[in-house]
Amino acid sequence: MTATETEPVTTDDVVLEAEGLTKHFPVRRGVRTLFTRERRAVHAVDDLRLTLRRGRVTALVGESGSGKSTVARLLAQLYPRTSGDIRLHGKTVTVHGGRKFRAYCRQVQMIFQDPFASLNPVHTVRYHLTRALKIHGRAGKTSAELEDNLNQLLLRVQLTPPERYLDKFPHELSGGQRQRVSIARALGADPEVLLADEPVSMLDVSIRLGVLNLLRDLKERLNLAILYITHDIASARYFADETMVMYAGRLVEGGDSETVTQHPAHPYTRLLIESAPDPDRLDRVGDLKDAPEDEAGGEPPSLIVPPSGCRFHPRCIHAMPKCSTELPPRFELSPRSELAVIAGKSDHWAACWLYEEGAAK
Amino acid sequence: ACSNGDAKKDTAGSSSAVTALNVGMPNGPQTENHNPFLGSSSGASLGYRWMIYEPLVMINAIKPAEKGKPWLATEWAWSENFTKLSLTIRDGVKFSDGSPMTADDVAYSFQLRKDNEGLNTDAIPYGTITATGNKVDLTFTKSQFTNQNKVLTVFVVPKAQWSTFADPSKDVVKNPIGTGPYKLKSFTPQTTTLEVRDSYWQDLPKIKELRYTSYNDNNAQTTALANGSAEWSFVFVPNYKTVYVDKDPDHHKLWFPANLGIHGLWINTTKKPFDNPALRRAMDKVINRDDIFNQGEAGYFYPKVESVTGIPTPAGESFIAPEYKDKKHAVDVDGAKAELSTAGFKLEGNVLKDPTGKPVTLTLTDPAGWSDYVTDLEIIKDNLSQIGIKATIDKANQDSWFKAIDEGNFDAAMHWTNGGATPFDIYQNIMDGKILKPVGKGGVSGNYGRFNSPEATKALDEYANAKDETARTAALNTLQKIMVEQMPVIPTSASNVGGMYSTKHWVGWPDEQNQYAPAQPTQQNALQIILNLKPAGA
């Protein structure tokens, strides 16, 4: 992968925007809460603001269960949202099905997290791709045209030669091949936005690289807006223009990828970056013992009764009294001198009281 | 108390040790109900009610024309027009609780029937009922000639007990008290046991204990009969020779005499061309009653009706008109064909065409589950094909069949007639114009074939209300003539009052030679049989 700074982003128009996006999953009541009035819910996503721009990759990282996939599904309109606003080209969209939903689908496509679950085991690759093309009217008129389109789709995801894969069933493919079929299906709609939920998690590094390169290529050639969800922060650094960090349903930090990964501001982001394995720390084994500072032993918080105030405060070593009571807003971080060049385009922010004006550092 | 085991033990020891008789009926598990009025009671279903409750007069069901045997009534006298009956009640009869039976009890027994329509199963139009001394006088609102036996065989219940019942028709009479020689010993859903009383107005029977077992179905009953665990029963056993008799040819006996009721092929006389008596007569001529008897009725169950009048013999022997005395049914295909061609039918090849030129076809119906009737129909279907009638058999389900018959929506069906003391019941059931209803209208109590003959209706009326015997004979002869000439029902078999019994432990059963009673364990006459039985070898 080449670094992003080589070519400046040409277009900056916003394609998909989310404002105040919230999703609560209701929880079945237990014995004790049966007669109480309060309704319990998993606060999977809370008050999320996100912008996807043409020709840019936005990475979403965070611990497992923090609501990354939920965000993707909300954006794909697969879940009804509890509250908030999703705007496609500035227009609020709320669709449940039917023609409007199809129109939305054509523009916003999603790659599911688990390629083993997201391909129907009874259908062939050909079926999956043909449907994607047909629904969006891209199948062509003749069967030869269709065949041609299918081949091109497979070639695009480097499943070559296409005819070797077209008639295979999902179980006859390896995990990486499946992930690429999923990607091909999403591309079949020729979307403007691609929501890629851990598209490469199952692959070994070499194949992973191939897929990421493909996405980057698409982004550049087709001016796609991509949401890239991952656990692999290093790949976010290399692949994404912008990185968002999510913790327990909320965004805690965002900004230019390089800045976020190299100069994490939020304590959770720091913890995340600290925890990532690093082969360059040479006295490896001993190092592992000194796990990064984490008050809760790595345990994620309950999302049913999320911690008050800043959700990270029970685990935060810098926690202040204020943190447990008041929800921190986004604080713009003044571009530090050495970062100004890189971070210029996208403002770096963190939702942490540490960055309140005048807070003790 | 395994009866099977008992039997084995007994043969090993002396047969005089046998003191019990095992009676069986294929009626399924019973609930404890000893109410003699209710056909649904275990007493009625298994027949033991007659061991506890006795009739005024014992009338031999296979010889209904004979004068009955005095039982609880010593004398009885009908007024000339059969609207009054005067009974003399036997003295010295005691109920099983020790209290004496009086004319009051008898009067009460009638009164019960009069007051409760549900108990008056013979629909006797009671007038006044009075008891004076040992006499009971009854009046009726119309002639009871045809019902005389029904009135006389009324059984007597103790007033003292029954007047305490809130609703006699809904009481299960847990503690039955009657004048009969037995009293209840124990009840289980499978078996009711009766034991003999200490005293009785006649000689006490030899059998000390009667066990009435209810088997769940015919097969179970048959098996029990075959292996000797049931010694007396009434059941349809196809192939009875192998299955029953051959198991112990010396002791396994059966006797199935006819009573005055018949089974036959009822024909819807409103349907063309079956409204033509000639066609019906021709059909009658080709029906093979031997096959029906042997294959359909297993060679014993419903005896053949031989007389062309449809009156079963020997029960109805005395009623048969002189002109028909020796006329018996016989297969006569040529005769049938001749009859048909005179009537304008044409036999073209295998197809009979009616005078209008239409082929004659008919549908024979009976419920699928009634294997004997359905077998009969198979035979009839075959027989009819000899004169070119194409019959099909429709095995309807029981309820819809019943409805169809009731409303006259059928071509032809095997069905029974009522039975009674005289052939009147048979003919009335078949031909009475008074109960005639048009096709499509149900709720009829007979004349399913919609046979419309004012002549027959008149003759029936005359018979029922005749003041003297000559008039009666004349009317009955007319009815016979109509029956033979019009054939609204083609009689095939007689009803029976038979039974299967084992002479291994007990002898003295009725049979062809000694026809003192019908052999059926659920008839009133069963009491006579029990009183007549003696240990084998004694």
């Binding site: 794909a76 259908h123 030669p161 079949g188 | 196809p238 192939n239 009634w370």
Partner: protein, 348 residues
């Protein structure tokens, strides 16, 4: 990008697997299963008899003859009844009714269970509650007694009626199973993915969900057919059915009411019973086949015993992987360089 897309050339070695093979291979696999093949052959045989039975029957099954209650003979293969009817002909002629009722009732019940079960599972919410209450009610009402009652309600019902009654009363169990399964499929990612692709609801149900229910639907169908056949025969056997045509139940009814067994006429009783049992077995065998055919899991774990090249039989077991006999084992295909003494044999 130092590795632009164009440079990543797929240099895939030529494998032996042909690209055309899969579809054909799958279809053949079904027949290759010996159980299923046996079942299919039997079933085909029964169907053939159902079609041609009345024509090849040597006698009219209702026709009486003078050979009353005779055992099997050259003339009457399966003997005769108390009326001298030919039992072999009755069996042949009776096959049609049995197959007709069984298959039709199976189709009706299966269709209903799919319709109600899948719809209620997929739609969820109030319509789900209503539909599952409906199927629960039908489940609670005991099928056989209900069939008996309904069958005796309908005046002179033919095979068609009986099939309808059985079909209409026996879908509930299937619907329940299908509903549960649909419920679990509904939230599968591939269904969501199909939605995200823009498929219509109708198409999602029929094309994405239904094929995954094939095994359940098939086994439900087979089960209902067996149940329908048994019910039909039972109805005829206890003399409630209104069927005027012959079927095996009618034969058994006659055998029973004429006490065939007690009088030693086993031939009257045995053929019909065996015919039923074999038909039931055939259907179950097909079911085995369907199971293994549709479920990839059973398919891959299909064979448990394998013969090694040197004639040993190895049983595959979870947890105890067989070790092929070392002495007869082939030489390592590739040399591995080891400095130990025995590496002489290793070098290629």
């Amino acid at each position: 990008m130092s590795a632009p897309a164009s440079t990543i050339t797929a240099v895939t070695p030529e494998g032996p697997a042909g690209a055309v093979a899969p579809a054909k291979r799958r279809r053949l696999r079904f027949v290759a299963n010996s159980k299923a093949a046996t079942g299919l052959i039997l079933l085909a045989f029964y169907s053939l008899i159902a079609i041609i039975g009345p024509w090849i029957a040597p006698f009219d099954p209702s026709a009486r003859s003078s050979d009353l209650l005779q055992g099997p003979s050259g003339k009457h293969w399966f003997g005769t009844t108390h009326l001298g009817q030919d039992i072999f002909s009755q069996i042949l002629v009776g096959t049609r009714g049995v197959m007709f009722v069984g298959l039709l009732a199976g189709v009706i019940a299966t269709a209903l269970s799919v319709l109600i079960g899948v719809t209620s599972g997929f739609l969820g919410g109030a319509s789900d509650e209503a539909l599952s209450a409906l199927s629960n009610v039908f489940l609670v009402i005991p099928a056989l007694p209900l069939i008996i009652i309904v069958a005796s309600t309908i005046p002179s019902a033919g095979d068609l009626m009986v099939a309808l009654v059985i079909g209409l009363t026996s879908w509930a169990w299937g619907a329940r199973v299908l509903r549960a399964q649909t419920l679990s499929l509904r939230r599968r990612d591939y269904v969501e993915a199909a939605r995200a692709t823009g498929e219509s609801t109708w198409r999602i149900i029929t094309v994405e969900i239904l094929p995954n229910l094939t095994a359940i639907i098939a086994s439900g169908f087979v089960g209902t057919v067996i149940f329908a056949i048994m019910s039909e025969i039972t109805l005829a056997f206890i003399g409630i059915s209104t069927i005027s045509e012959w079927n095996w139940g009618t034969i058994l009814f006659w055998a029973q009411s004429q006490q065939a067994l007690a009088s030693g006429a086993w031939w009257w009783f045995v053929p019909a019973g065996l015919a039923i049992a074999i038909l039931g077995t055939a259907l179950s065998l097909v079911n085995f086949g369907i199971d293994e055919f549709v479920s990839p899991r059973l398919r891959s774990a299909g064979r448990t015993k394998v013969k090694t090249t040197d004639g040993h039989t190895v049983r595959m077991r979870v947890g105890f992987t067989p070790v092929l006999s070392q002495n007869g084992a082939k030489e390592p295909v590739t040399p591995v360089l080891r400095k130990t003494a025995d590496n002489a044999k290793g070098v290629a």
